[in-house]
């Protein structure tokens, strides 16, 4: 079975750091057409334009060709083809598969039936490891290091898979966490237990403005309607935090704001013009990190 990237746990600390180094090399030299004879499949069983464009740009910058679909609606999948059959077939056509699927565990299963590496571009609410790696890349880029960073995670900490994966990945690097969330969306106990076991300190807050002064990375998240089974619960919390430029007066000079995007109301437009805004650069970094992941899994870097 070729090496795949399904969960952030699939990579050791050394592999994570290697990917970040390779990504930096790609950022410095954006067009390295080392995969000119390769074909990359992007199989998006549910739409995610942002993630798909990022992966397809990465593949194109490496010189590879891209095939795939952006929505399972008009493919054989909608006629009832099993995931196994789709993956078996596509495996025979391409050199690597990038897939996004609404069912959790689908990417792990695909990697076990595929004859080529699989990159998980999101399996339901489970994992989205390229997002975690680009977050790590951006943290290192803005702070000059990954160790001893004070990270303030804000918003939906209950259902937000990006914050859970980032928390686990950062646990390699002695961080300090602040969790800013309304009581309905607090960080689940299992992740707090995980931090306790590793002796990693964390503080929980309800208000956003109080914790900003000691923060290095302010990691904002969107409250995602589709993760809620109860629409009333969503209505109560959807606009709970809104970051404005005036709240940043006491921020440390090195502080940067990250957000996995798209944002809705949680970061106001006036923040974009402050030196703290870094979310658009973060999205750009996704391309270099995805180039690094593809090149690494294909044995080129």
């Amino acid at each position: 079975m070729p090496k795949s990237l399904i969960s952030i746990h699939d990579f050791t600390k050394e592999e994570i750091l290697h990917i970040l180094d390779v990504a930096r090399e790609f950022e410095q030299n954006k067009s390295q057409r080392i995969l000119q004879d390769k074909v990359v499949a992007t199989l998006f069983f549910e739409p995610s334009t942002r993630t798909r464009l990022s992966f397809e740009t990465a593949a194109n910058r490496l010189g590879a060709r891209v095939i795939g679909f952006s929505d399972a609606g008009n493919t054989s999948v909608s006629k009832g083809e099993t995931l196994k059959d789709t993956i078996k077939m596509v495996s025979n056509y391409v050199d690597i598969i990038v897939m996004r699927h609404p069912l959790e565990g689908s990417a792990r299963y695909a990697s076990e039936v595929a004859s080529v590496p699989v990159i998980n571009a999101g399996d339901g609410a489970n994992q989205h490891p390229s997002q975690t790696l680009l977050d790590l890349y951006t943290i290192r880029q803005t702070q000059g290091r990954l160790d001893n960073i004070n990270i303030n995670m804000v918003g939906d900490l209950k259902y937000g898979r990006t914050v859970h994966s980032l928390l686990q990945a950062m646990s390699h690097f002695s961080p300090k966490f602040t969790f800013t969330a309304p009581s309905e969306l607090k960080m689940p106990q299992e992740y707090k237990d995980f931090l306790d076991k590793k002796n990693i300190p964390y503080t929980e807050r309800l208000e956003l403005d109080k914790g900003i002064a000691e923060t290095d990375i302010l990691y904002m998240t969107r409250v995602q309607q589709e993760r809620f089974s109860d629409p009333m619960e969503y209505e109560k919390v959807k606009n709970v935090y809104s970051l404005t430029a005036s709240m940043l007066d006491n921020a440390k000079p090195n502080m940067k704001i990250l957000h996995p995007l798209p944002r809705v109301t949680e970061i106001s437009q006036d923040v974009d013009d402050t030196p703290y805004a870094y979310y658009f650069k973060q999205a750009e970094n996704g391309v270099y990190v995805r180039m690094a992941i593809i090149a690494y899994l294909l044995g080129y870097k």
Binding site: L83, L103, E104, G105, G124
Partner: protein, 157 residues
């Protein structure tokens, strides 16, 4: 004396395997896990029997049938305190010790409704995790935990 009376509640077997100290509410899960619905041997069971250890217990006796370790160990999922006695000539000739397998494949249902195994023909697979005194199953695919005590056993086809 008490012991003898209890034995009479489910008739003795000459040769085979006796599974005792099964929690009464887990009896049918044990039957499913061991696939006894397809078993051609004589199977007798009793349930809601008095037990000092479990309150109400169940017992299963399977004539002329002996289990391999990896087969019988699966019942630790739902009956961790079960006692397994091998019977020859109406006598207990061996008391088997159950151990929790590190991996459970194909018998338990993942409790996550969005898991791929609940939507496509994918055999389930779990790692067993001891969480304090409780046994939990971590899905190999979706990574979510299922409580062993409330686990749903998949019907065999």
């Amino acid at each position: 004396m008490e012991n003898t009376i209890k034995k009479l509640k489910v008739s003795a077997i000459e040769n085979g395997t006796v599974l005792d100290h099964i929690p009464a509410n887990q009896l049918f899960k044990v039957i499913n896990i061991l696939n006894l619905t397809d078993c051609r041997n004589q199977v007798t069971f009793g349930t809601n029997l008095e037990s000092k250890l479990l309150g109400k217990k169940a017992i299963i006796k399977i004539a002329d049938r002996y289990f391999a370790d990896d087969e019988i160990n699966k019942i630790t999922l739902v009956a961790p305190q079960a006692k397994i006695n091998v019977i020859k000539n109406f006598e207990v000739v061996e008391k088997r010790i159950l151990t929790v397998p590190s991996e459970i494949t194909g018998i338990a249902k993942c409790s996550n409704p969005k898991c791929i195994t609940n939507h496509q023909p994918v055999p389930t697979r779990f790692a067993t995790v001891a969480d304090g005194g409780h046994l939990k199953l971590q899905c190999h695919f979706c990574e979510k935990m299922t409580d062993a005590e409330n686990v749903v056993i998949l019907a065999k086809n």
